[in-house]
Symmetry: C2
Subunit: 411 residues, 2 copies
């Protein structure tokens, strides 16, 4: 691990000793490398990272389609991917993704337990606790670097839900199926009850445990309610137990959240979870923009990143509407990277302001080659410029001779 931390410290331009301290205190997590890729760290004082969710669904289960999405995510500069497959041969697609990925791959093993139980016995509620744990083990065997497990969905949280009804109830797939199972079987969440076993599996396979927020709010109306906060308190305790057992963990966060609550969400996570790395799905700052949820999410994620979030799960334009395709994936990754970078600028992460300044100087100099090179998506920037502009044009077609940079340079 020490060699790896050294390398990461170098890549991130941070002091090795600081990184070591953060790592030892659980404030930085290191995802192991996939067989053909590199390891990655998330957390305190590091660049904000971005994850892209890919994976089949029951409706669209096409391995090649998913591998194309993987490729799109990697080209767009994602830091990790999660395989959330729920359709077709789950193991086959997972192995192909792990094999083909140059970045750490995460997963949500409970999906496999749900799908298997439904396929074998016709009902997801029929899955048994051993099968839930076996699914985690299976993902470990397949080289997964981090697993989302919804250990924090407890009877206590569900009673909070019952006493404080929501507009949208449970919107986490893992969370909703676990809740159904708990109610159908009148039992506590096995992933909570047998948490030590979950930890041991993670330890055995060197997987980081991502403590999933099964009760995250999925509507602006439900943001930061009793059930969400109750679950976060539980998750904080689970995080401490993970560290005590020598397992790395990160914390997952919402969801749909109004803009003003986002800094409080981050603060609450940092306080209740001993400054553990915070991994956010969104947050989406409004519910009303399906088709633009990469934007509603980019807004929330940027504010979260500026406030201290460490790891951003992208949201694509097809969120709430359908399974994303490769282009959705590309746009989702880039939108999330923009948010992460906006946060890095605020937190003055090494290299962040320098990048913006390079772009600004290129603009000032009307150096178009350099502007394209410095763009987060050079291909897109070039294609938009080319749409209206001959190659050797000194300005752009927005202002032409009225270019302010040109006017200013003539002063």
């Amino acid at each position: 691990m020490n060699e790896l931390l050294k390398q990461i410290a170098q890549e991130e331009s941070v002091q090795e000793l600081d990184l070591l301290t953060s790592f030892q205190n659980g404030r930085v997590a290191v995802f192991k490398a996939p067989p053909n890729g590199r390891a990655l760290a998330v957390g305190e004082n590091l660049r904000v990272k971005v994850n892209a969710n890919i994976g089949t669904s029951g409706d669209i289960a096409d391995e090649d389609f998913e591998l194309k999405k993987l490729e799109a995510a990697l080209s767009a500069g994602t830091d990790t991917v999660m395989d959330l497959s729920t359709g077709g041969n789950l193991r086959a697609v997972r192995r192909k993704i792990v094999e083909a990925s140059s970045v750490p791959v995460g997963s949500v093993p409970i999906y496999e337990a749900i799908v298997d139980a439904a396929r074998r016995r016709g009902a997801a509620d029929s899955m048994n606790p051993d099968e839930m744990l076996d699914a985690i083990r299976l993902h470990g065997e397949d080289g997964i670097s981090f697993v989302t497990v919804h250990c924090g969905v407890t009877l206590s949280g569900l009673s909070q839900l019952q006493n404080n009804p929501r507009v949208c109830g449970i919107v986490s797939r893992g969370g909703s199926f676990l809740a159904r199972w708990m109610r159908a079987n009148k039992k506590e969440n096995p992933l909570f009850e047998r948490y030590d076993e979950v930890l041991d599996i993670c330890k055995q396979y060197g997987m980081v445990l991502s403590l999933g927020d099964g009760l995250r709010p999925g509507a602006i109306a439900d943001s930061m309610d009793q059930a969400q906060v109750d679950e976060l308190v539980t998750i904080g305790q689970l995080f401490r137990r993970a560290r005590q057992r020598g397992v790395q963990a990160i914390i997952e966060g919402p969801g749909h959240v109004t803009l003003d609550q986002i800094p409080a969400q981050v603060m609450m996570e940092k306080r209740l979870c001993d400054d553990a790395p915070f991994y956010l799905l969104g947050p989406l700052v409004t519910d009303i923009a399906p088709g633009f949820d990469h934007i509603t999410s980019a807004i929330g994620a940027a504010v979260a990143a500026a406030a201290g979030a460490d790891f951003l799960c992208y949201v694509t334009p097809s969120e709430h509407l359908g399974l994303p395709d490769a282009d959705d994936v590309r746009i989702g990754v880039l939108a999330a990277r923009i948010s992460g970078h906006a946060g890095d600028l605020v937190r003055r992460r090494p290299g962040a302001r320098e990048w913006d300044e390079k772009m600004s100087r290129a603009r000032k100099d009307r150096n178009w080659g350099e502007q394209i090179r410095q763009a987060i998506d050079p291909g897109l920037a070039l294609s938009i410029r080319r749409k209206t502009c001959p190659e050797d044009h000194e300005t752009c077609t927005m202002c032409g001779d009225l270019c302010a940079y040109k006017a200013d340079s003539l002063i």
Copy 2:
């Protein structure tokens, strides 16, 4: 005006008396209706509004193209448009836009003075102060509802620029040409020196004066620097003079700003300008994402709106790269509306949370017709859903049978 305020109070679900007070104190501005359209108010306690910039350039001067962009902006729900034409027959295109617009039309008359001087005498610096004032009058005659005039670009501001050099200098078109003129002619800004005449013209034609920020930062590195703040102090004094002379005014703001500075930018404007309506161009929270500047801007605009900004100028995907087309305009308006709405949610504007809740309930019920109807862009939402999903599908192709809403409803 009283009938109009009554109507606006009703549309905005605010108390008529509160609106009247805000209006009388200059904290709300009312843009007069174009000949075939409706009036609009911006400011305190009102819904955040959105503006779309359209207009020809020296490189692309096609009236029909601009009318298509106007149509795209209106269909996407813009609250105002600004005609920033600098190419072709400026007056002809302006008159057509004013004629065709159902929302108030703004403009930047100095562009016309610059273009005219360059055409007549070969040099923009040759424009004379009378021509600058004449251009404003001309726009008044043509039915423009609000005009951006860069009265705050003063010798004092320019000396701040000189003493505190920027990466990107002046990025405002009007600002940079005025600065050139001032330096070439060794004179104070005529729009500052003859400010009372500017006010009288606005009064004569019932135009709102939008006090342009000619020295706004155009790079993250330049944000909130001496020149910007110096100009804002001047603008605050000009705002007071406008009110004393019975002219409505609003204040324009940056630009390129790091996320953490945005609330301070809004606070500073509100403090220095007696809570005048604040009209922001962006802010863009990073420089590095040409092609995605509707997103970098949506992030900044949402944070600004939540912090108290009143009026958001959109930014399109073609910003920094070329003149936008109709589709860029559509996307720009929708991104800005999302930001405004995210702000309205935080500020609990009447109807804002209700809209989100309608969408959330439709999601919970898997009522797809209602989800599409409630979407900010129903056409886009429907087309994304249809891409992967048969019409009568109960869930979407993201989760299929693993739909959390479905699972939750079965608990």
